[in-house]
Symmetry: C2
């Protein structure tokens, strides 16, 4: 026996099922939750319920939002001629942190992955195509992850977009800034060689 | 702006306040919670509320329990002549995993720490003393952590127990099994030398 009482053991189990939470962290979290003031626990649970009921997909770009249309799609300051296509809402946060990209986004919510039974119709691809009809969009930047599935998804989508006469690009692959070439994997080096630029 | 909608940002903040959860883990957990089936979320919240309402201190040893008396204190198979005194209920789980100790436990729920305004009366010391009156207990093993505060707490408690004619011992300090002496800190080595045994 583990030495914990059933309701505590159950709470630890629940925490241990969350991603990247091991058994020891789950114990620490469960004990912490037992020691929190009731008001804080209520506020924690309320945040879960509020997020679950409020957060849904932007009707334009499929990013998570509390409103009908997300703050980026409804912003008057964004360049409406460019859409950056990402796998996950967290990727938008990564691009926004650069403060360099001022266009719009589109969230696919995944990549095509026959192994995991994720097909094109499971992703927000038709919502992307629906945005391209007005003639406002001049370029779509594919920013899926540099993985086999990410690349395959980018190629699949680019084939749907090109016939519409819209430019499709993808992020550059290469050596990340600050990397040590000695420890850079060979696939990255191959891509970096292929994509070399004249000085 | 971080790119997340307010209710999601709020949930991420709540997770990030939990111990050993950084901002990235908090994001991952919040997104995972959004993607969980409603029944699983309900069950998660229910576990928190159940643990909070059910778990309390054993009226004998102060370990966490769902019952009035914990499973160890109420077991007929434990040796009732020995009490191992620990700081935290998690320490009991560590000893139980050894399958070597069959006595009882007592949980202090902390150590004396004037810096943090934790005084003897904040710990479960009077509950421990109350168990020693019947004459059944022959030995108390102090198993607080090998820290300055843990040791001071052990010494404080041992001074209260010795006048009752009960043996008080503490865990051996020394080199942990499998350790590399080269990387063992000097305080541990000093204790290991002091505690050396003849072969």
């Amino acid at each position: 026996m583990a030495g914990f009482t059933p309701s505590l053991e159950n709470l630890i189990d629940k925490f241990a099922r969350l991603p990247s939470i091991g058994r020891k962290s789950a114990q620490r979290l469960a004990f912490y939750l037992l020691s929190m003031p009731q008001a804080e626990v209520d506020s924690f649970i309320d945040s879960i319920n509020t997020a679950r009921s409020q957060v849904h997909r932007c009707s334009v770009c499929c990013n998570f939002t509390d409103s009908d249309i997300c703050s980026i799609c409804s912003s008057k300051e964004r360049d409406r001629s460019t859409i950056c296509v990402v796998e996950d809402p967290r990727d938008i946060a990564a691009f926004e942190k650069t403060h360099e990209y001022s266009g719009l986004y589109h969230v696919l919510h995944g990549v095509i992955s026959p192994m995991n039974d994720i097909n094109p119709e499971d992703l927000c691809i038709k919502e992307l195509l629906a945005r391209l009809g007005s003639g406002e969009v001049k370029e779509v930047i594919m920013a899926t992850n540099p993985t086999v599935e990410g690349e395959a998804t980018s190629i699949y989508i680019s084939k749907l977009i090109k016939p519409l006469g819209i430019n499709v690009s993808r992020l550059a692959y290469g050596v990340p800034m600050g990397a040590d070439l000695e420890y850079t994997d060979e696939f990255t080096l191959i891509r970096a060689m292929e994509g070399r630029k004249s000085l």
